[in-house]
Amino acid sequence: MAFFGFAHGVHPPEEKGLTSGLPIRRMPYPEEIVLPLRQHAGKPAKLCVRVGDHVERGDPVGLADGYMSVPIHASAAGTISAIDLWPHPDGSYAQTVHIKVDKYAVQLPRPRLVPRWEGLTVDQVVKAVQDAGVVGLGGAAFPTHVKLAPPKDYKVHTLIINGAECEPYLTSDHRTMVEYPERVHFGCRVMMHTLGVSKAVIGVEKNKPDAIAALERTRPKDLDITILPLTVKYPQGAEKMLIHAVTGVEVPSGKLPVTVGVVVQNVGSLAAIAEVFDTGLPLIERIVTVTGHGLTRPANLIVPVGTKLKDLLAYCDGVTPDAREVINGGPMMGMAVSNLDAPVLKGTTGIVVLTSDEVRAEKIYPCIHCGRCLDACPVFLNPSWLGDLARVKRYQEMADHHLADCMLCGSCSYVCPSNIPLSQLFQASKAALRRVQTAGAA
């Protein structure tokens, strides 16, 4: 079979067996839902409710603030009990709407008109997707409607659908493809129609044969959709790696995928688009993989957005005594959580609980210049050199050496025999550069 992959990358233990065979279940509504207004890339939503208001499931609590923004909707019926600053999974505090969930509500959304997508213009589809608050469900939470209307200067020829899910432990996309392949195809149909492309490729890593089979079985015969089995390697699901694996073309540094004529969308986001044009329901719940050896009962769950992490962990029968660290996202790119009051967001792909055995803090040794990080870096940077620069705070030089191309995939940290936390250094350096830039602008 032909090789569909990319150069470099790493092979971390997959650990997907914990949840890959578990069907998606629905989690019961928690007592309180907390909805931060900042859940997506771009401007936070604008508050549109007051304390004491009653909201039905699917009612907006925050409205889109401009084009690079999406609204936030109530994920359960209830009463707005407070609007305050509340812990955000990224460690900061963000303006948050608290909903006291009505225990006896039937949790049916208000009857709404479902737009028939065939008759809509591009602008109307974009508007409908924005109004539904759909963002990329792969983790970055980039507003989906922006991808539906690429700049006019570029001709899009292929829609690439990301079902790689290369991150260890996570299986939410996998289960979506196995259980809801029709939704993925329906979302794909709407996107192809809107983008005006005739060709779509769904990239799935070869370690998910059941997902590939399910997508093949339900593949619409009237559309040119290819299901492409990809080499199992991390970070296969990174946008630029996926484009390279599917088309063989490299996206230039600092440019968007649309410059090479492709748009990439996550399978979960397609399922969310399908939901919008199927039932009219906005993005108010998502599939989250709750897993890890530190968790009593791993599961793939449909979780209302805004469920507190502690409620989620409690529903999975809590953590084991040797649990040590809770990670929001996967173990490679995810971020440790410092406060379990923080909620599940639209971009939360999974929650991984690691045991103390797995999070040993190893002693950091000096760089021995072995070059393994160079062989691992999927964007061909020199992490060893960048790490040296980061330690002496020469951030501008790091920027000159293409720090901006680093997507913090963690491959360099993973292979480093000296245990140097390169990825963390780069993350801190990026933050420092941003601080310098904003200070310079002010």
Binding site: S92, A336, N339, R435
Partner: protein
């Protein structure tokens, strides 16, 4: 004979270049005020940038040209500044002592540590991982990035993990302000004694679950101070330093958490001493 040839060729080449260099020196010479060198030698040459110029040489050039008051060099002492001013025959100007102040008093004894951070021991790296594990997302992480950044050795970490600024040594060079990923340092005049040592924007008494010296926005200081001096905006007390002349110590007396303080010299240092004095 060959030796002579070599000497002549090399010597001739040297002569040609010497004439060229001499001509260039005449033609391209840039006259520089000789006082710049003298003033430059009298400056501390720490090149700290506190004056806002890219180094001591640049400061000397500007001082000689009369573009900046000599007292703007905050690193030098008054005696030295006087000498430079006397040498240049200008008024030294009024030097206002400015020092770095930390807008956080949440040491490990009073602030909740919600998660354990293990990793690179710098504030910058810790702040990149979920804010660093401290209960208060705005508070000092205590990993001493500022101490390492300080060129003058003015910052030392106290046992509670807070940086204490030595007001004698601090030159207000701004390095700690840049180094702190939580933006907790401000440069403030030493005679401005009123300071809010908290940046936590959570309102009300729930903030005490994070830190017992946090501002609860109770507003007592606003009532006790001169009108308009202190206001409570977006979750924390804010001092309007344009009205600082009206400030009195009585404003901080009713603060239930000591989030707003009346400074005498260094921060934090006097707090234990005060309580024992009060007890006596």
């Amino acid at each position: 004979m060959i030796i002579l040839q070599a000497v002549l060729i090399l010597g001739g080449t040297a002569l040609v270049f010497a004439i060229f260099i001499a001509a260039a020196n005449k033609k391209l010479k840039v006259w520089e005020d000789p006082r710049i060198d003298v003033v430059s030698a009298m400056l501390p040459n720490a090149n700290c940038g506190a004056c806002g110029l890219p180094g001591c040489r640049a400061f000397a050039e500007k001082a000689v040209a009369g573009g900046i008051q000599v007292s703007k060099c905050t690193v030098s002492n008054a005696e030295r500044i006087g000498e430079i001013a006397h040498f240049l025959g200008v008024d030294a100007g009024q030097a206002v002592k400015v020092v770095a102040r930390l807008q956080c008093a949440g040491g490990s004894n009073v602030a909740v540590q919600r998660a354990e951070y293990r990793g690179l021991g710098t504030c910058e790296a810790a702040a990149a991982v979920a804010g660093g594990g401290k209960g208060c997302a705005w508070g000092c992480l205590g990993l001493a990035d500022c101490e390492r950044a300080c060129t003058f050795g003015a910052i030392t970490m106290n046992p509670e993990g807070l940086p204490v600024v030595d007001v004698e040594k601090c030159t207000a060079c701004n390095d700690c302000v840049v180094a702190c990923p939580k933006d907790l340092f401000v440069l403030q005049q030493l005679d401005h004694q009123l300071l809010v040592q908290c940046k936590n924007l959570v309102q009300g008494d729930v903030v005490l679950e994070q830190c017992t010296v946090a501002c609860t926005t109770c507003g007592k200081c606003v009532l006790d101070a001169a009108p308009g001096l202190i206001s409570v905006a977006s979750g924390v007390a804010v001092i309007d330093y344009s009205k600082i002349a009206e400030a009195e110590e009585s404003a901080v007396e009713r603060c239930p958490t000591n989030a707003i303080v009346w400074l005498r010299g260094a921060q934090f240092a006097r707090q234990p001493a005060l309580s024992s004095a009060e007890a006596a």
